[in-house]
């Protein structure tokens, strides 16, 4: 982070804790200000935890991973320079944790099961009334690779280029994983296994 000039510094110091940007809070955290880091945690804990929860499927594992992610954040906060949005930087750390978790468990992204041809030529049957809970449950049943791309794109709002960078895959892979995830979800929500 470039050093603040005097005038800027005055502006910063008159801000309330709530109006500090992520970048400012990150700089303060890097300087050892735990209160600033707690504020960063307050601002981002829900998104991190929710992604972990949807990826792992249970609260205990999700909290453990959230803790690990924020510890990583604390260790690496000095390397955050604000080139990307803080949330992108943060989500990259979450994705790394998720991938590491899978590696430990022997889950491989490539092993996502192909669902065969999910295209429909037969008589179309519309989706039943869709509610949040049904959707959450269906997301949980997605193969891990599909789930991660789906969550990052459709829930977290990342672009394929960003997802490809996070996962170390091609944009094409991200696109095809997303499409397969959506089709699989539709299949699950229509009562398919």
């Amino acid at each position: 982070m470039r050093p603040l000039r005097c005038a800027e510094w005055r502006v910063v110091t008159t801000k309330t804790a709530d109006s500090f940007t992520d970048l400012e809070l990150a700089a303060q955290s890097a300087a050892g200000d735990v209160a600033a880091f707690e504020r960063l945690y307050e601002l981002h804990r829900r998104r991190v935890y929710s992604l972990c929860l949807r990826m792992l499927g249970n609260a205990t594992d999700a909290e453990d991973m959230t803790q690990e992610v924020f510890l990583q954040v604390f260790r690496k906060i000095g390397t955050f320079r604000g080139e990307a949005a803080f949330t992108t930087w943060l989500h990259r750390l979450v994705v790394n944790q998720v991938l590491m978790h899978w590696r430990k468990q022997g889950v491989r992204l490539e092993e996502t099961t192909e669902e065969g041809d999910m295209s429909e030529v037969a008589r179309p049957r519309p989706l039943p009334m869709l509610d949040r809970i049904a959707l959450e449950q269906a997301i949980r049943k997605l193969p891990p690779g599909y789930r991660l791309v789906f969550l990052l794109h459709d829930v977290e709002g990342y672009e394929h280029e960003e997802i490809a960078a996070m996962l170390g895959c091609s944009v094409g892979t991200s696109k095809s994983q997303l499409h397969k995830a959506r089709l699989k979800l539709r299949h699950l929500l229509r009562g398919g296994g």
Binding site: V34, R75, E120, R132, R182, R186
Partner: protein, 227 residues
């Protein structure tokens, strides 16, 4: 183009990633094909609802856990600061003991006969002990029941030496050098006392000095065992 080919493009269509030509081509098919249109509508519903999924709240204790983990992680750095102070401190204490032991041995009347003729050991000790107590940075109390205390101190020294043997490979060079220097001073002082005690086994002052040197060794070991 087959329905399957059109369906492959549905996600890119929904996300606005198709070229103008591809988009028009797909829209023409969707108008004609009810099956593909239904899938497209379903995917749109799924995408919309996904965007509106709420975030969940972790338990309020999670921050405490994270803060504790951060504190535990940052603790070693405060330890580093502490152990940079402590070896020097321990060495100073050891040096004081050694210097005093040397001084006492040099200036006290030598030989059992002359000792008997001079002040009783306790009285001699009393003359010297206030200054000794003053310079003990760790507040070693030298008035004690020698035999029992010495056994306890010796046992503790053994335990600490075992502990240090395990930890020592992890020390940096500076700590290792400091430990060697401190221990060398104390051991020299202990050897000196032992040597004199062999000649005068009943000498109370020598025993006190020996015990003080043992305690100095204990202090050194204690400080380095915390690293």
């Amino acid at each position: 183009m087959s329905c399957a080919k059109h369906q492959d493009r549905l996600s890119d269509y929904i996300d606005g990633l198709l070229s103008e030509r591809e988009r028009l081509e797909l829209e023409r098919h969707l108008r004609e094909c009810r099956s593909c249109r239904t899938i497209c509508e379903d995917l749109i519903v799924i995408c919309q609802l996904s965007r509106e999924l709420p975030d969940y709240e972790p338990s309020p204790q999670l921050w405490e856990r994270i803060a504790a983990a951060i504190a535990a992680e940052t603790a070693p750095s405060t330890r580093v600061r502490r152990f940079r102070m402590r070896p020097a401190f321990a060495m100073a204490a050891a040096l004081m003991i050694a210097v005093l032991a040397g001084a006492l041995l040099r200036f006290r009347p030598l030989g059992p006969e002359s000792q008997e003729a001079s002040l009783p050991a306790a009285a001699q000790w009393n003359v010297l002990s206030p200054s000794l107590l003053e310079i003990q940075p760790t507040g070693l109390i030298l008035a004690h029941k020698p035999t029992i205390d010495r056994e306890i101190v010796e046992q503790r020294i053994e335990a600490l030496e075992r502990h240090i043997r395990q930890r020592r490979p992890l020390w940096d060079a500076e700590t290792e050098a400091c430990f060697r220097r401190s221990l060398e001073v104390v051991e020299r002082s202990l050897a000196h006392c032992r040597q004199e005690l062999e000649r005068n086994p009943e000498d109370a002052v020598l025993r006190e000095l020996y015990f003080a040197a043992l305690k100095a060794k204990l202090e050194v070991l204690k400080r380095f065992s915390e690293l």
